[in-house]
């Protein structure tokens, strides 16, 4: 059942492959706005890079939620899915698909942005042979699934409410704060050559916590949405 559901989500995403690329473009574009808006100076960019990359990843995840939930709600598919299988399974299949289609590509494309933001240079402008890119990717790898899970709750809750995509953002952004803090702290710590294991551990803990608790909540929320 779960496999069928997941295959469906992935198939829909493949059909809309442009829609799948869009969060990626969005991620890249938002990050690249900052050199224009703040300052193109390398050292400065390096400092704000962790924050900018994480905030952009977070927004990209949040805004791409719509694609996986709204359509099914509006055309009546969600009803059918919930009648024919269990809410938790529907929830999980959507979260997994969302992460595979949006979260994972974000992680994979992030080295590009690390380059843009001069993340691989030392403060005196020397290209590091072992840059901060891998650890940045790892922080995103641990953090994005939690973003998808929490976001899914907000999305499901807002489905029945209004057509407003930003409602989810407003509900969920406060809940994203811990993930954002520890996620960007990992990179900042790495930039400052200090340890980041504690932060990574917390990110992992948050993920475990979210994985065990949220699918049920998402299922409930979806059920309420169609009622």
């Amino acid at each position: 059942m779960f496999i069928t559901l997941l295959k469906r989500e992935l198939m829909l995403a493949r059909r809309n492959w442009v829609a799948v690329l869009i969060p990626l473009f969005f991620f890249i574009m938002v990050v690249s706005l900052f050199p224009f808006a703040v300052s193109p100076e390398a050292e400065f960019l390096r400092q704000i890079a962790p924050g900018v990359i994480w905030v952009s990843a977070l927004l990209a995840t949040l805004l791409s939620l719509d694609f996986f939930y709204r359509g099914d709600y509006q055309d009546g598919s969600l009803e059918q899915l919930l009648i024919m299988s269990s809410p938790t399974q529907v929830a999980l299949s959507k979260v997994v698909a969302h992460w595979l289609v949006t979260g994972l590509p974000l992680v994979l494309v992030s080295p590009l942005l690390a380059g843009l933001m001069h993340l691989n240079y030392s403060p005196d402008g020397i290209l590091l042979e072992r840059g901060h890119t891998p650890i940045m990717m790892f922080s995103l790898l641990l953090g994005t699934p939690s973003l998808c899970l929490l976001g899914a709750i907000g999305m499901s809750l807002s489905l029945g409410a209004s057509r407003n995509g930003m409602l989810v953002a407003v509900m969920i952004l406060p809940l994203y704060v811990p993930i954002l803090i520890f996620g960007s702290a990992v990179i900042t710590a790495s930039l400052g050559n200090s340890g980041y294991n504690a932060q990574l551990a917390i990110l992992a803990a948050i993920l475990l916590f979210a994985l065990t608790l949220t699918p049920f909540a998402i299922g409930r929320a979806l059920k309420v949405a169609v009622s």
């Binding site: 709750i153 807002s158 029945g160 407003n164 509900m171 608790l213 949220t214 009622s227």
Partner: protein, 249 residues
């Protein structure tokens, strides 16, 4: 024993009845008002005139007597909202959802008061009205949580759906509040150490009025919730006969 659990069960059921609550609360309210006004008047007099001036902060320390009680209530408010949410979802109790809905804007108001008095206080003491201090920041996030809840609840045209959805959000939010607080604290201590130490031992002549004010604020909060809850009942039960009889009386 069996008897007592029976009666508490009955009480629970009565509380679940809008009619019972509406009628009883009309009797409670005058008393509550009386006690609260007295306590508040006494507390304000004590704290604004009779308590000592802080040797460091001068008169601005008096903001504390509003600030700290409001801060306490802002958090209690969110928690009670989540408790109502659980009761509403598990026992399908409409009144509980109404209470949850009633608490939200009041909790948000107390959060705003905390933020506002805090900034007012910050200006003379720290020379800035906003610092990204752990406490203040998590209070800001709490405000956002309240706003999210209110935004969600108000976005539905169907009340039933609004209640159930918002309840889920309240619970998820409540689970996250300690996590947020913890992470903000951790983040803040990591990033910077304050030159201004916030905590000092509080003198007993400051503590007594503070406690009185906290008590008064709790009561005030309760009154506001009851009043809003009554409004909510009027709103939702407009078509029921008992309420029409009640109002025309």
């Amino acid at each position: 024993m069996a008897n007592s659990s029976m009666s508490s069960w009955r009480w629970f059921h009565q509380l679940g009845s809008p009619k019972w609550f509406y009628q009883k609360s009309a009797k409670w309210l005058p008393w509550l008002w009386a006690i609260t006004t007295m306590l508040l008047a006494f507390g304000l007099y004590y704290s604004l005139y009779a308590s000592p001036v802080d040797y460091q902060q001068g008169n601005s320390v008096r903001i504390m007597y509003i600030h700290v009680p409001a801060a306490a209530l802002s958090m209690v408010g969110y928690l009670s909202m989540a408790v109502c949410a659980v009761i509403g979802l598990v026992w399908k109790m409409k009144m509980s959802f109404m209470a949850m809905r009633a608490i939200a804007p009041i909790g948000a108001l107390f959060t705003l008061i905390t933020l506002f008095t805090g900034s007012l206080w910050g200006l003379p003491t720290w020379g800035t009205w906003w610092e990204w201090d752990a406490r203040m920041t998590s209070e800001l996030v709490l405000l956002f949580l309240y706003l999210g809840f209110i935004a969600l609840h108000s976005s539905f045209s169907d009340r039933n759906k609004a209640d159930r959805s918002a309840a889920i959000l309240a619970i998820v939010g409540a689970i996250n509040v300690p996590i947020i607080y913890g992470s903000v604290k951790w983040w803040n201590t990591l990033h910077q150490a304050y030159s201004v130490t916030k905590k000092g031992a509080i003198a007993p002549e400051m503590q007594t009025p503070l406690f009185i004010m906290i008590g008064a604020f709790y009561l005030l909060f309760a009154i506001m919730v009851i009043v809003r809850l009554r409004l909510e009942i009027i709103n939702r039960e407009a078509k029921s006969k008992w309420l029409q009889a009640e109002i025309t009386l």
